[in-house]
Symmetry: C2
Subunit: 172 residues, 2 copies
């Protein structure tokens, strides 16, 4: 089970970024998206609609207390994605040996407690960019690129790749 | 020269997503970020502030007319990132032979004209996710992971990777 924990979602400011994080999580092979901060039913509904159309078992859930949630994950390896952490390219082989992971993504100011609660603090470059990208690249390296050809079960819609057009199969 | 062309930026709705796209472009090795749609000085200022602090020569520029801009790029290979395109893993070796690239990223509805103006229409999975991620993963594959260790010249601030803390060098 691969779970993403998105810290401190702010309904107004973060809606699209958190949605992008969740869709990247799903497309790149995670199973579950847990978020804290503001509860946001519109965000959840949007993600669930994508799952309904495009398939798979990806789920999204609100939790009030991030630390409590992490402590309940006590058999799983916790990875905190932060620009201050150790480079992914040096650590991923070790991390990949763990089957269950909880991956933390936050905003600008994640309290040090989360660094200490994590087994790994991992950076995707040490430059400022995006939690959307950090999460996706982590999953890409974790799955060693295999996620790019992942098929989703129970899809109602599927794209047939094309060199110059839009080819969509519907009503599968 | 690696240029990103972000189509149809909407000042209110896209500010953070476009900012994430620009920061990913910079961190993952692109040189220039051109955008169309609403001109947005606050967005430009934010990106320029990051470049000023974290180094490198990344530039950001508004253009009114995307097609005109693309036609001026006539010696460069144009890549359109779209979930409908051919899978990156099958095409990247061919694309990598081109030194200059202009990479188009759009929103939901990119007109077919841009598909036809492009030499390659490329998908990063055929699932809905994020232009932030599509762009970053494209650059990652184009540079074959070397971008993860890129050093930025003239940086005033630099992070020293750490297993459990924040180590920052300032005033370089």
């Amino acid at each position: 089970m691969l779970t993403i924990l998105r810290l401190n979602h702010r309904k107004k400011r973060d809606k699209r970024i958190t949605t992008h994080c969740a869709l990247v999580a799903r497309a790149f092979g995670a199973d579950k998206f847990v978020y804290t901060g503001d509860e946001d039913k519109a965000f959840e509904k949007g993600v669930k609609a994508v799952v309904g159309q495009w398939g798979g078992n990806f789920s999204v859930k609100y939790k009030k207390n991030a630390k409590k949630f992490l402590k309940e994950q006590n058999k799983k390896t916790i990875v905190n994605l932060t620009m201050y952490g150790l480079p992914i390219q040096n650590e991923i082989n070790k991390i990949r040996k763990n089957k269950g992971l909880t991956i933390i993504i936050g905003g600008a100011k994640v309290p040090m407690d989360f660094y200490r609660l994590s087994h790994y603090n991992i950076s995707i470059t040490s430059q400022p960019h995006s939690e959307v990208m950090a999460l996706g690249l982590f999953l890409d390296r974790y799955f060693a690129g295999r996620e790019l050809v992942k098929r989703f079960k129970n899809a109602k819609i599927r794209i047939i790749p094309h060199s110059c057009g839009k080819l969509v199969k519907k009503g599968l």
